[in-house]
Symmetry: D2
Subunit: 338 residues, 4 copies
Amino acid sequence: MIIVVKNNPDKKQMDNLVKWIKGLGLDIHMSKGDNTTVMGLIGDTSVVDEDLIRSLDIVESVKRIQEPFKNANRKFHPDDTVVNVGGHLFGGGHFQLIAGPCSVESEDQIVTVAKAVKAAGATVLRGGAYKPRTSPYAFQGLREEGLKLLSLAKRETGMPVCTEIVDVRTLPLFEDVDLIQVGARNMQNFELLKELGRTDKPILLKRGMAATIEEWLMSAEYIMSEGNANVILCERGIRTFEPYTRNTLDLSAIPVLRDLTHLPILVDPSHASGKAKLVLPLSLAAVGAGADGLEIEVHNDPVHALSDGAQSLRPEQFADLVQRTDVLLTVCGKERDK
Amino acid sequence: MIIVVKNNPDKKQMDNLVKWIKGLGLDIHMSKGDNTTVMGLIGDTSVVDEDLIRSLDIVESVKRIQEPFKNANRKFHPDDTVVNVGGHLFGGGHFQLIAGPCSVESEDQIVTVAKAVKAAGATVLRGGAYKPRTSPYAFQGLREEGLKLLSLAKRETGMPVCTEIVDVRTLPLFEDVDLIQVGARNMQNFELLKELGRTDKPILLKRGMAATIEEWLMSAEYIMSEGNANVILCERGIRTFEPYTRNTLDLSAIPVLRDLTHLPILVDPSHASGKAKLVLPLSLAAVGAGADGLEIEVHNDPVHALSDGAQSLRPEQFADLVQRTDVLLTVCGKERDK
Amino acid sequence: MIIVVKNNPDKKQMDNLVKWIKGLGLDIHMSKGDNTTVMGLIGDTSVVDEDLIRSLDIVESVKRIQEPFKNANRKFHPDDTVVNVGGHLFGGGHFQLIAGPCSVESEDQIVTVAKAVKAAGATVLRGGAYKPRTSPYAFQGLREEGLKLLSLAKRETGMPVCTEIVDVRTLPLFEDVDLIQVGARNMQNFELLKELGRTDKPILLKRGMAATIEEWLMSAEYIMSEGNANVILCERGIRTFEPYTRNTLDLSAIPVLRDLTHLPILVDPSHASGKAKLVLPLSLAAVGAGADGLEIEVHNDPVHALSDGAQSLRPEQFADLVQRTDVLLTVCGKERDK
Amino acid sequence: MIIVVKNNPDKKQMDNLVKWIKGLGLDIHMSKGDNTTVMGLIGDTSVVDEDLIRSLDIVESVKRIQEPFKNANRKFHPDDTVVNVGGHLFGGGHFQLIAGPCSVESEDQIVTVAKAVKAAGATVLRGGAYKPRTSPYAFQGLREEGLKLLSLAKRETGMPVCTEIVDVRTLPLFEDVDLIQVGARNMQNFELLKELGRTDKPILLKRGMAATIEEWLMSAEYIMSEGNANVILCERGIRTFEPYTRNTLDLSAIPVLRDLTHLPILVDPSHASGKAKLVLPLSLAAVGAGADGLEIEVHNDPVHALSDGAQSLRPEQFADLVQRTDVLLTVCGKERDK
């Protein structure tokens, strides 16, 4: 970490800063120029509060040189992490498709969709039981009943299941869930992350809408530092000024993360765009960018045709998407897990 | 709500949409133009999922006409809400100062600061017991011990206290807290909001870093729809591309909110800027924009001079800030509560 | 266009608004609800200033139903526009590679790179003569001399050339340029756009850093409404809060634009990311998303090895990129123009 | 400038980088740690292209320590710059009001408004002759005729005038303009900035919608480095995700700029918000934040009542705003120029 100190700093404050840094077990390398003094901090700076130092009167600016994440850092773990979700491997060259409806609605619905997406090539079934909704007046999911229906679909199809947790108190109910999803809104719900870190469940950690890549990795670090290394990252769009898409899918994050971390990286093109017709091109783009898998919303509801046009694909559209991504995967030297 | 339908929509999908809308108890007013059909939905549209409709194949765009929030809406509650925090009134022309350290560190520290900020004019003591930190390696607060020290300071000074909740499971420990703060990262922790809605505690709801004003009010709605009307909003900066300040304080939000809602509106200039020297000008600006109060970080640590330069002010700087805002308040026709 | 009027609007203002709208040659369809009146404007609303109406006291909100762009709108021109750049076709299923150095530096440099990128598969040579730089102290390009060197390279290799214009007064010097680039910073330099609209030169219109897709298309409209239909769009990243990449490449814009407009759509992965190692994965992603071509920075400078690591690729890296994108293109049903 | 080099860098590339830096006349201070090498550049680094270095393969990150702006930098010019606009002083404790209509429409209109705003306290008349509009179909201003009408209003009232330039070719027509405005969209129209730098006219440089404070100061530097030191900065809102206001007014920029630069700083609350009712609270906030003046849209059109509700204030609203800001100014130790 490098600290740029202002011109003619107050001596007492300077002494206190030096003392405080040394108190953290770090050494200091001082370098005085004409207008500024630069302090180089030597040692493990991950404990240092960058914001605190930046806010000091005598400090002009601060630059971290070592990344503040350790467990998630590829520098210290050069090999790809491979996460096993109910027998299916994420990362390390494997490619997986997680698919299913936005919300679990009924036994018939979830089992039908599960069979359809399995037939098309999905290896993990997703379905929302607890739904974080902007409005308290919107449907909040079937909740505990939804989890039961997921278990049922799991038994019927043999697919491992993935569903979102929104309340740390419900964790015991997730016993039968194979991949616990942490949604964008809870990416910095640190107490939840810590609890998940104390389990050995695979965690699908979505990027927060306003989270930088570094903050996202620090949230992975919360889980990993408690002992659970089974973290899968999932890019799902960030908030920008562009109103046409619900969020702006940041596909550059994939090669950037590939360099910074050894964790598997998925992409969710359904939520990012909010529009069914964008799911296919963004899926192909994600494959091109190097994603280790996709999470896709698929809905099947022949009676209630409203769902036909939702951000979810119909099963036959999903099957088409799988075929097309397969061809690209072959080109990219990856193979879809079956 | 207005739905713009595409040219020549699929008839079956159109029929299904109409049927679904009517099933929600709404009437439809159809208006056909050359290129588009516009559907006007008549009735209580707060139950309608705007995103779902927007994602339909046959829909070009959707526009909500009624705001989706009801309890927080000034249209239905023209008078200002006044929230009583331990005898001090927020909203309705009152002006309050919440002040105290970023983190509670020791009995001596919190009591000393409490006395200092009370002497300078603060009416509510703030202090972090549970600290949401980006890094798991950073100090996470004294937690339960911190709450006890706050209670102690409350007894010593008679000041009501304000502190942040980060885990719904700790709510029973907040019995003696007068104003429970929900931080930016938990603004959409809906399960927490619902639980807080089932108490009668005043809630200080900070704006999420990537939250629109409407989303923020919908989070207030989560609390209010469960029965707790004691919500105070607090602007603390949004995330933008500007790196110089930690966040960009959105002071336009104050007059905008004044129009949309009857809830009291505070500003936290300390966290927004991340720099002590910006706190005074931004406090004066917030008063000019019409804020009902300020939340200010104040630190007092004569031994450990590191704090001298933090984003927190020293007590004497805070006292100066109070005097300056007082003069502006008089001009603005408000008076600081004493 | 739909105008939502507030409750109990001032009658005089309402009459004036109605009169003003009718004065623009539009009809009005009034629809009164309990709390709001909705006005539907019928006719060509592209002349209506949406911001002006939104700012009226009696207006709650405004929604445009017809897109404000006409010439660029696929609704009115269903077939893809194909732009001919020196014999190479952009759009309509063709795929083109524009490649070359960031700045033209010398005859030797530009001719060497031109030959290398041509051999690798590029069809158009790019090279900056006028460089828009954030700092006045940075190299501003060889300017007129740079244009001459480009012409020379064009004669030597037979490749059409693409270079950026930054000053409307220099337009006469661009006679020999085949594709005039308008950079992100000049996307809303409307006087420049109008002048370019009065030529018949193909224009490569880059997206502004803070431009919505609609604003970008309105800038295309500036060129087209003056008579020049040879506009090619180029996505190059938008400004967000993420600091890791210089800009955030918005690949969702490609399928969105494909739907909204008939113009060809390119992607520039070099400038968006600012990092050479991101160029290949983002190029593959762009192909997956459906781009009609790429603009890639390629540098060749064996002596001055600094350039080895720049955001520019070396010729052999570019040749590798071409081979890889070719395989994806085949899969996507496109073929690279040769 | 500090360059963090990656682990085990390629020796040839490292040598080339060192050679290149020394070729720029800079010295290098090397500091080798376990995982990284840090290079400190000593000398005038304003000529160094930060982006270029950042993009090198062997470089992990770059940090500028000296600000890249010199003429605009308060470090080298501690005293406030005072700009004289037709006898009225901007900066150095003075406070000025620029007011007038969005567009010049007729002699009657501009003269009437000029007299009204002068009577209310404005010292400089603004009025748009050339209007940069998102749509080519929107009114583009009276252009040269508008400039003539401004001159006429200047002669009638004695007020200096301020108007926007959008095309470098029209500069000769601005002879009689006292303060030339560069709008947000042209903040990085560097060729225009250079030409303005060759005049001695006061320049009102608005912040670009996506410009960081540093980029904004670099644009001021473009003008100043050509010899014109008469630059006034004007904050007018940045682009964010919040849709309620047209832009987000960044009032933190005022105290930040006060620290970084000696140039006068104005605020334009009309364009930022796009709503007349936000102009007063944001004006008071701007005064609280320490602005040196305001630019306010004022419209007077008794016949055409549309303007009553525009983002422009009516003259009597402006007069009220002046009285209210005056009281705040007194408190803030400033006085409005008369």
